[in-house]
């Protein structure tokens, strides 16, 4: 709790706050970070293997291989979410499984599964992009801002 807020508390509440702070279980931040690092890295290794597969067996270059790789990874994550495997991985790895693009597939399908009982239109259709929608919105917006900055830097700053 923030310091300013704590000053407004009564002495009894403050005492309880200290009591509680002593006994609560500490968040294992370092352990979580290490797990996320390794599982996230593993997902990236799989993605790299898939992109090499596409480059080797089909006519994709390093430039163009991104699209089919991303599509495959999202598709795999969707299947694993449906089978209930991805939830287990996410429970273990935390951010490591939600930051890569596979987390996007998971967000879409888990929302769809959750709202299945409400029907296809208002349930699945309406709620599928509940979380993924904000990913798309802010992703597009961030891309716009970055492109704007780059354009300004190149035109006026003489960069690039």
């Amino acid at each position: 709790m923030a310091n300013e807020k704590r000053k407004k508390l009564t002495p009894v509440q403050q005492e309880y706050h200290l009591f509680e702070k002593e006994r609560e279980t500490k968040r294992p931040v370092v352990k979580n970070c290490i797990r996320a690092f390794f599982v996230g890295g593993l997902i990236c290794v799989i993605g790299q293997a898939i992109s090499y597969f596409y480059m080797y067996f089909f006519d994709f270059t390093e430039q163009t291989v991104g699209n089919p790789t991303v599509a495959t990874m999202v598709f795999l994550a969707m299947i694993f979410t449906g089978l209930g495997v991805y939830d287990r991985i996410a429970q273990f790895a935390g951010a490591g499984s939600s930051v890569p693009v596979t987390g996007f597939g998971n967000a879409v399908i888990s929302a769809a599964i959750e709202h299945r009982t409400e029907g296809f239109v208002l349930g699945v259709g309406g709620n599928m992009f509940k979380l993924a929608g904000s990913v798309i919105l802010f992703g597009t917006f961030a891309a716009f801002v970055v492109a704007l900055i780059k354009t300004i830097a190149v035109k006026w700053g003489g960069l690039g």
Binding site: M55, F57, D59, F60, T61, Q63, T64, V65, N67, I79
Partner: protein
């Protein structure tokens, strides 16, 4: 459990279905090989001199950022593919510019095509091996180089 097994089977079947395409491709390549061996004698007299490509590879490999390079040439074109060392990949654009300039100075009579793409590297290596082994004529090599140039310029 049963659903899971069926699912796995479907996925495996899908993947196996994709894998067949390669075989068909190879079969068609074998066909072209057979035609070539039929007029073996004429094909060999057309063999294109690859000394310029060898020179180019030597010059590029001498750069400290380049890990490996391959090249193929005809009388008018020179295709060079190289790989950049890991930490130097941040300066990819500048390296490409430098190499292009260097090659243009060294071989002013050739049209130079430069690529750092791994796929182009593999393909160029394949083409070079094929030239050394089967001795393709200039027209065929030109066609392949054109194809690779088009591939390297693809953006989507």
């Amino acid at each position: 459990m049963r659903k899971y097994v069926t699912m796995l089977m479907v996925v495996t079947l899908l993947i196996v279905g994709c894998a067949r395409e390669k075989e068909i491709k190879q079969q068609s390549l074998q066909g072209t090989n057979m035609i070539k061996t039929n007029r073996d004698g004429t094909a060999y007299s057309y063999k294109v001199n690859q000394s310029i490509a060898k020179q180019a590879v030597q010059h590029i490999k001498a750069r400290k950022e380049v890990r490996d390079a391959v090249a193929v040439n005809t009388s008018k074109k020179l295709l060079v593919a190289y790989q950049v060392k890991h930490m130097h990949r941040f300066r990819m654009k500048q390296i490409k510019k430098d190499i292009e300039q260097q090659l243009k100075q060294l071989f002013p009579n050739h049209k130079i095509i430069v690529s750092s793409d791994l796929k182009i590297f593999w393909k160029t290596n394949e083409l070079r091996d094929k030239i050394n082994k089967d001795g393709m004529n200039e027209k065929q090599i030109n066609k392949q180089i054109k194809k690779l140039k088009k591939l390297s310029e693809e953006l989507t």
